[in-house]
């Protein structure tokens, strides 16, 4: 890419672009949660408690982020085994997160909260579902990082940037989930 060297800003343009992209993903969830609030204010709102699995999944996702960070600092120190291990752990925990989210859905379903029916339930499914899709995107990026970790030999600037982009995104979807969980708990 011819333009990745910027003339006078410190931030790499691609990382900057990622920040903007994160901003617009944030807008999407902001609109979903505002729609949630608006609809809830309208009454006829089914109350139920958040499945406990969601607490565990949150923990798993946070640890996953941590692992990726360990992988990243090991990459910088050229500690290859820990770098590769961190990446794989982050990926596996990301998958576990999705499984747990699905468990959460099952739990909801078993207490009679269906996707159809009262919008309070529908919103929960939709918000967690769309967040799950963003996790899926992150997992795809992690797969690429893992392949790089095992096949690439040279430590180039470009490789580091790509890794940092993945890291940035993965932390973002992690924090996004924490926001969503706190939002869902607060607005009961």
């Amino acid at each position: 890419m011819s333009n990745s060297k910027s003339h006078h800003t410190r931030l790499n343009p691609l990382k900057f672009a990622m920040w903007i992209g994160m901003g617009s993903i944030m807008m999407m969830f902001a609109s979903l949660t505002s729609a949630y609030l608006v609809r809830r204010a309208g009454g006829n709102w089914l109350e139920f408690s958040i499945p406990t699995v969601f607490y565990y999944s949150t923990l798993v996702l946070l640890v996953s982020s941590l692992c990726l960070h360990v992988g990243y600092s090991s990459y910088k120190k050229r500690n290859i085994p820990l770098y590769q291990g961190g990446l794989i752990a982050a990926f596996v925990l990301g998958c576990v997160f999705l499984v747990l989210q699905y468990q959460g859905w099952n739990e909801l379903f078993s207490i009679g909260v269906d996707l159809k029916g009262n919008p309070s339930g529908s919103f929960l499914y939709v918000i967690t579902g769309i967040h799950g899709l963003h996790i899926l995107g992150g997992l795809a990026a992690l797969v690429v990082s893992i392949i790089n970790a095992f096949t690439l030999k040279k430590f180039t600037e470009k490789r580091k940037t790509n890794f940092e982009l993945t890291l940035q995104y993965w932390h973002f979807v992690d924090i996004l989930w924490v926001y969503l969980l706190v939002f869902l708990l607060m607005s009961r």
């Binding site: 011819s2 807008m27 609809r39």
Partner: protein
Amino acid sequence: MASIITYDEKKLIKEDGFDDHFHEHHHGDKYQTGFIFKYIFSMDHKIIARQFLITGMIWAIIGAAMSIVFRLQLGFPEESLAWLKPILGRWILLNEETGIGTLDPQFYYALVTMHGTIIVFFVLTAGLSGTFSNLLIPLQVGARDMASPFLNMLSYWFFFLAGAVMMYSLFLNTGPFSGGWTGYPPLSALPQASSGSAGGMTLWLVSLVLFVVSVLLGGINYITTILNLRTKGMSLWKMPLTIWAFFVTAIIGLLSFPVLASGFFLLMFDRGLGTSFYLSDIFIAGQALDYVGGSPILYQHLFWFLGHPEVYIIILPAMGIVSEVLSVHARKPVFGYKAMVYSILAIAFLSFIVWAHHMFMSGVNPFLSNFFVIFTLIIAVPSAVKVFNWITTLWGGQIRLNSAMLFAIGFISLFVSGGLTGIFLGNSAIDIQMHDTYFVVAHFHIVMGVAAMFGMFAGIYHWFPKMFGRFMNETLGKIHFWMTIIGAYAIFWPMHYLGMAGVPRRYYRFDSFEAFEQFTAMNQFITIAAIITFGASILFVVNFFYSMNYGKKQKVRNPYGANTLEWTTPIEAGHGNWEGKIPSVHRWPYDYGKDGNEFIPQYVPLTEEEKLEESH
């Protein structure tokens, strides 16, 4: 003290320019080889700009042709449309005995809906902002290309795909979506509600979600390029107003289009998975549906949270183009440059807190409406600042009345006429009478539809040499202008009267309403004006393609004597835009007629006197 500045462009850029070592390594050029990668899957912003433009033009012709068909229906409901049968097929209902063909009412609605969707999104968003942001951002800020040429290419192909899906929906058995460009539920949410709400609506949603992706990818690139890849010396306050406009447009798009996407997702769930986000207590054909607890107003909030900013996404690039064209061809600096920038920012900010003025009649709380009335009316202030500044830019200038300039002046006229009616509509009490009438149709066609088209025409005539190395034919251009401005006013001015008399928009025919019988002649007049104006557009298309191959050749790099950087590249600029160094920037782009110099390009260093002035 007047002092004529002399300089040698090539020498100056060679000595003073910014060296990014671009030509030392041969990266990037790989994707420039071979026809397919050079013209189809191109990552060069100049090619992508042309792709956006030509795709946009094709959609413009389709969208405009649709309007002619439904105008025929409105102007001449009794005339036979049998001659359209070969094109429209089963959408023309043929009476076996008399041989008279009539437009299927269902298809009339589909035409109106598609016309709106196509023009708003494909022509005036992608075709306008996509074309000129791509062409001008790298060239005017002094960058080799976009921050991510690859994402830029994807942005075009997502737009293309969105178009392909929409096009396909036109040929469905049940027809394309027909519930209006705003796609309000419950009509749009229930496949059984109308034939257009079946497969047509599904494809409409898919197409527009793809379109949102395209806008986001493009916007991320535009913002990043503007903030990160400006050449040496190009501070924010030295950027041309075009760049400011594209920049703010991209920001608005990135903040509002994701909201539209969420609105669409919820609608998809309602349609496909049985949720009730927007639906409650509905009876169709005497049967109660089991959706409960939803609210169609929720959709309107989500839609208009994009929908209103969207109208500024459309008009801001046109405003930027007009500012630039006016200044270059009036040979005068833009009046009140900073005020222009601040009013762009103010308009952008306000555009996010006025959306409910589209919902005064949807049952939102009247006290809440007051809030929206006030902010809506406040938008008139920055808009008026801009109009004032354009007119003062023209004032006393040595105006070159070429086609680009004519369209830029036409833009001002239209923006004023259409903006004034906005102030009527912005008062919720007046809107009770005006809502959903032809008054609204007149308002937004003049202020947005035609005005933005004029901005686009001004830009095309002005930058045609930059895109194709040739000029468009001026005589045809002037005919195009006069026919279009007279035609557009002839079409939309009378609609204000229709609207004030209460004629509702989106009706198939009016001849069964006694109150509207007096308007038969007026409706015929509008239709004839529309056909003539459409003819003018065909003239433009002919001029465009003819000039591309046979137009007058561009012989010098800077034919207009303009200050901005795009005129320092070679006439047939290759990949990377500048052969050697990138010019570095020393001054704002509007030094026209300064100290006896007709124009001083941005790459010319300040003289000693100017430096002295600046430090005071």
